[in-house]
Subunit: 226 residues, 4 copies
């Protein structure tokens, strides 16, 4: 009796093509990547669009709307930087899964963790927008923002490793030193830079926001170059 | 005269492949699963992302932003648990429909009911975040949270049954005892555990939240194991 | 010189298969239905999920959270009815486009109009939730709710007609009386019933809400029957 | 050793079909358009649906709900115009990518910029809804609205150019004068008109809103005509 629902928990109709040695403990259940991409695109699109909900209409305009709008510049700056950051995440995510056809459970889970951080990004963004100009509070807000970016960066490294391991397993081999080095070169720098940005936050919230903007722009042009 | 729109209400171009006996009363209208998955992914992605809208910027920081942020820990805990819960729902939903190609109307309807519960999850989440520390109100909030999880769990059992029945019908047989037992083993435990969690809520809201977090983590690792 | 971007405005690589008579004025530009479905699924999923944003955490609970939550019952009732309504819209939309492969511009536009009404549904819903119990204001809120449903219903009739006309044109024939009758039978009743519901609103807001709930349930079971 | 993840950064399994001269500096990494469309559909669907969040339930109704609702007409007008605008953007985006199969990085980036403007549209919309009737503030709000539309229009021109350049490169030729002229004719008018609308805003906010509505309607019927 073949029942797809019961079966789907234990085996798969889409086994990794290279893994046909019949040992069940080695056979991971694989999933088509399309729903992972659809769910990720959904969360990224919503997170990016919710950012604009924090672009408030000024409550009162005693000295004119133009001035009131100008006084909200930290909101626009935080919106622009966070939009760019989530946009770059989407581009990297897109590039990372472009040549992948199926994913295993660890990849699904780490991807969920990444999305958990991404969907939280509007929170530090509004924190930074509200407290940027308020001295100590602004520096803490910038540090929280930087910590969120660091968490996002860590999830990306873990996702890269999970994808690389999955593909190595599909080809019956282990991750080698060259691959590990490629991880360090491509993503490790991000970890260092975001850690530095947390430190910079305690010097100046403005400088930290500018650094995050510069990083996002750098990654954009770096992407365009490759 | 073949008119697809009129026809689409009464018959289907995608009949269940095994159901070719020609008796119209037995032929259910089948739908490609892709829009069910797209709509479900959309609702799940939005519900999960809207959770972060309740991570508010502290209104006033008389004793510093760090303290004000720390005082909001129930919001972060509720966010984390609900994110994990919706993430697991997505994973289970993904696994459940992985090997399904078409769905009938009962599956579409029960799936809608499941999505109705899921899209409501931000409500008990913000309730729990706001009242967790307020004694009696916190316990009631935790019970409402638990009741929502129980409702979600019941929808999942019903969805499983509807999918199993649909597949049995496609193969011209009825659900047998072994399948019913598999349902009980896989999902029945969830019903019991979420009922217990409602009871636990009346003892301690903190304990109930911790229990929901532990359950979500358990299901995560359980998923990874299978 | 073949330039797809310039070309895409004037002709199509996906002409209607039956329309090969070469007369350019008769050749409508056709679009694959997949983006229409994706965009519609997105708007419907978001509208349905935003409904839950109006399930507010009670601001004060002088007589206990349970009572405060109980006093919010109009919010839950309005949420449930609107969720069901949007769910049924999704099911009907799904069924309507199931056997369609390409769509022309009029279909795209009328579909946009339908989505415009659907994405506005959270507004009359929160209006009804807030004013249901307030006599005259409640009756007006219920009438606005009913008018929104009527507008939605009209868009559905127009969408049906546009789809039927598109298909008739693809087969080189005009809409005939039998088809027009099918439209009246299937959707015309909805127009009448929603008009009645607007009238009922001026008698009792409660009755009108109950009527909308009953209608949504009726259409659900009607869908299950066919 | 072929590792898709590492490889995906540098080369592609989907090279432009016409670009097979083997010179790596000429080979752009191409991406399937489906995720660009999915992400764009997501952002457009969310932006359009979030507009309705600014249709507030009147806080107090001293002279009846009907009057209070009537007094909110700028919100409905702004909602209707912005919905129409985003709807037309979606239609144009759909038409623009209809016959495209793969996209390169510049297209992805300019598309992100377009989405950044689109997801910000709810902000000038609520600004205009709130200040339309308040003299000077209304005129500034209308100018901000017009500036947003101009930015959107510029992104569309850039996106068109990026797509045309990508396609020219795939066919080993450069953009020629005829194409450049087509750009000017099709989109350049929009740039002029939206610039005029910014000027009109300083004369009358009402006139500017009406102009934006008329433009959206004009583009709708223009789309239907072609």
């Amino acid at each position: 009796m073949a029942d797809p629902v019961v079966r789907s928990a234990g085996s798969g109709t889409h086994p990794p093509p290279d893994d046909a040695d019949g040992r069940p403990s080695r056979r991971a259940v694989m999933f088509e990547k399309n729903r992972l991409e659809a769910f990720s695109d959904g969360v990224l699109a919503i997170a990016v669009t919710l950012l604009a909900l924090d672009l408030h209409s000024p409550a009162a305009v005693p000295r004119g709307l133009a001035r009131a709008l100008g006084a909200q510049w930290p909101s626009y700056a935080a919106y622009a930087v966070s939009f760019l950051v989530i946009g770059i995440i989407w581009l990297n995510h897109h590039a990372m899964f472009r040549d992948v056809r199926t994913v295993d459970r660890p990849v699904l889970f780490i991807n969920l963790a990444l999305l958990g951080v991404v969907s939280a990004i509007p929170f530090p963004t509004r924190l930074l927008a509200e407290y940027l100009r308020e001295g100590e509070a602004g520096r803490i807000a910038a540090a929280v923002y930087g910590a969120t970016m660091l968490a996002m960066s860590i999830c990306f490294v873990l996702l890269w490793i999970a994808l690389a391991r999955q593909q190595a397993r599909q080809m019956h081999r282990r991750l080698d030193a060259r691959q590990a080095f490629a991880v360090i070169r491509r993503f490790g720098l991000g970890l260092v830079v975001y850690t530095v940005a947390i430190g910079v936050a305690f010097i100046s919230a403005y400088l930290a926001l500018a650094l995050h903007g510069a990083l996002a722009l750098y990654y954009s042009f770096d992407q365009l170059r490759t």
